[in-house]
Amino acid sequence: MRGAKPTGCGSPVCLTAHTLFSLLGRRECGRHRAAQKFERCRSYRKSKMKPMITDRKRHLVTAALVAPAGLWLLVFLVLPFMAMVVFSFGERAPEGGYQAAFTFAQFANLPSRAAAFWNTMMIAPVGAFLCLIVAYPVAYYLAIKSDPKYRLVLVSLVVVPFWTSLLVRTYAWMYILGSRGIPNLLGMIGIEDIRLLNTPGAVLLGIVYGYLPLMIMPIYVSLEKLDRRLLEASADLGAKPVSTFFGITLPLSLPGVMTGVALVTILLLGEYLIPQLLGGGKVFFIGNALVDLFLQSRNWPFGSAIAVTLVVVVVIVLSVAMRIAWKVSGSRQVDLV
């Protein structure tokens, strides 16, 4: 088993996967599960022979290594989330902000943002799917078709856009899609007054552009570790390339696909910037609703209720997605990447 180490493979994506899994109550990344079990048995047997002090020392080291991240998560994730839960049962102060109370009114008011939820729940998966359509061929080319000599360079190029802020790159799109950009070029060939900016299409374009690397990388990783002999075996058994792709390559890269889709979908559920800039405030995500609630109407309790609901939705989406991935790709490949 390639890359099998007792403590997981340590790749950033895999670490993310571990975090996600721990959210779902699964502790291991499947690729390593068997190896881990084996390693654990072995080290357990070994440790039994050693004096107890070694065991305690090891626990201390583990604690010391986990502590910074644990503290970070506690202070910047757990405590704020708890505050948000508390707020969500409160009331809006007359001039805005939070006023202590215990009421379900905020949750009862959720339907008033149904349109934003609906928009988000529709556009996020569509955006993730479009991203997938564009990302898969790229990842496939990088992992399978590209010359290994240049692969590292090509893969690095995928992440190059991250070197500048998404804000700046999205502004660039505002100018490309604005009247002085593509519509201007179209005007030169006689197609006048085409409006691209501030349309749902512009938002989807921005989403695909902004999230593409996040989709390419996990798919690339899962395709890259795909055993080429499986593809040869498929061809050997008479499968045409298309059948091989749909019968073998795609299912076996599904964990990567699901990671990418889950990653992009989850981030899109909280997206604010792209709809704001490329949708002109007309394409309204739940993220925009949150910004408005906190930054315009200053209704913190309602904003908190929406945020809590969003977290719940994300957890549900994630667990469903992962269960599908586990089912389709077989228990041995159930890791996220």
Binding site: D227, R229, A233, D236, L237, G330, S331
Partner: protein
Amino acid sequence: MTAAPANDIEFRSVTKRYGTVTAVSDINLAVPKGAFVALLGPSGCGKTTCLRMIGGFEQPSEGTVLIDGREMNGVPAYRRPVNMVFQHYALFPHFDVEQNVAYGLKQARPKLAAAEISARAREALEMVRLGGFERRRIHEMSGGQQQRVALARAIVNKPSVLLLDEPLAALDKKLRTAMQIELQTLQRELGITFMLVTHDQEEALSMSDMVCVMNAGRIVQMDRPQDIYDRPADLFVADFVGKTNRISATVEPDGATLRLSNGMALAARSGLRPGAATVALRPEAIDLVRQSNGEGSPLAGIVTHRIFLGSTAEYQISVDGLGDFLVTADRRSMQEGDLVEPGERVALTFDPGKVHVFPA
């Protein structure tokens, strides 16, 4: 084509290069129908490349590969009437056992009925004695069982040739021996050509009825297993197939007398090219005689190591003037039916007819 071709597989002057490296060099090979052929050689000798050119995973740089008398150049793997058992099996991890076996059947066009696919997959699983394992996941199967799944998957399409790439390499010795017998049985039952790639000479000799020894991209010898062993074509084959003692020698000008480097003269078969030569002698071709009374013998030495193997024993003997010799002695053939102890002096005798002489 009117008459069925006699050969299932034919290589005509096949060369394969990767960049500047020549993996396979000008190979000519004909495998008759129904044969069990082993491609034997050290790693990197080009045997796997040959197999992959038959499978369609590589295209020859020069020359032609024919299957069933048809030229295969440019024909993709999925259109070739051969199937392969891959090294490490390459089973589909996301399918269960039956789905793995049925995969080839599902590719058939026109499509086969689901019931037929299932029936034939189960039939193939029965053939490899895996009935009842249909719904198992691949990772729940042992190495030997996975090997059988790979076999069932490869034979289910009834190929005219079954290619096996180091199929037993991952199994332990006991299982390997059992599988060797099973493969032979299977080949007889199916009556199709088996082509096996292995670096294990024992495997090649025990299973196949034709062994093709390769070295450095070329075929060195192609013969029946016993002929490979008894009449190696060159020193490489003698060395690679079985164990052998090498003695440097000179062929006298008469072309029939050999003089070993310790001065001992041997009458060999005539017609040898005079000059420097290497003599190869199998360990089991040598008999040992105790030399307790110190009588003179042209070939004698002291036993330095002994490996007891039950019915036989292997001795390492430091022969006067010739260095270390390896001798395998049948216990019953020994005087007094006893084992020779390390440190004892022994005389070595052999039938000069069993000596192989290669020009140096």
